[in-house]
Symmetry: C3
Subunit: 104 residues, 3 copies
């Protein structure tokens, strides 16, 4: 089956940033995302003690250029003040051409 | 530690396809899977508005041949009518030999 | 944006091992983790029939050396008696230098 190489951006943050981050990734060109409730604990002492999760994980499949834009915004807007982590993975997406916006 | 290179197939779909997709990946040779409730929103206007999630994410570790078979079935059986996305990642699995069925 | 190549270790296990596994990965050098409730079914007959999940997925971003130590501990302490699976993925982490403990 034909697949398209794309970059998966994974962002883990406090739940309160959910709407802001979704708006930002859409502005940067993401055509969709999945959101998962997670419990997280990191080096900055962030802690979600209740099982239902005060943290979220957002994943989106984008071009490498869009991925870089998302990392840029995360870095300048959130990293100083919030517990946000983000990483990139290379994946092969079925019918991945639909995930890249044309004309950006 | 010895690890085995395998392909991780990730499928995000509407919850109603859960049993069908699980049956399909097993038929194709998957020996196990994990299932996560997610909230998703994509380019086709699919929307899971309630937090508990009307979407699921299924992940399975398989050989590259099995991965191709799974993508084939997803493409021919679901992509036209349902909001399904799927992608492949290359991973290194501890005791991964158990994940590949012999005699397929 | 500058990213750091790190290894993501994903561990899926029965929920009862949660605290033990978290303590182990911290001892091995992980600085944080995310925990997700999942439903799983594998070749060893493990089954989480209720939707809320009796299984957990733990993910942590570490150096390749720390990843090997974690796999070692999983292999010697859990693989014989418990339904545990684990795999490694290569990822690019924003401000990833914070995830590697110095002086280990």
């Amino acid at each position: 089956m034909k697949t398209v190489p794309l970059t998966k951006v994974t962002i883990v943050s406090e739940s309160l940033l959910k709407d802001e981050i979704i708006a930002m990734i859409r502005k940067r060109g993401a055509t969709g995302f999945t959101l998962t409730k997670v419990e997280g604990e990191g080096s900055r002492g962030v802690r979600a003690s209740d099982w239902e999760g005060r943290n979220i994980q957002i994943e989106t499949l984008v071009s490498s250029e869009t991925a870089q834009g998302i990392l840029q915004d995360l870095s300048t807007e959130y990293f100083e003040s919030y517990a946000v982590i983000a990483w990139l993975s290379e994946v092969q997406v079925l019918r991945g051409e639909k995930f890249v916006r044309t004309g950006e």
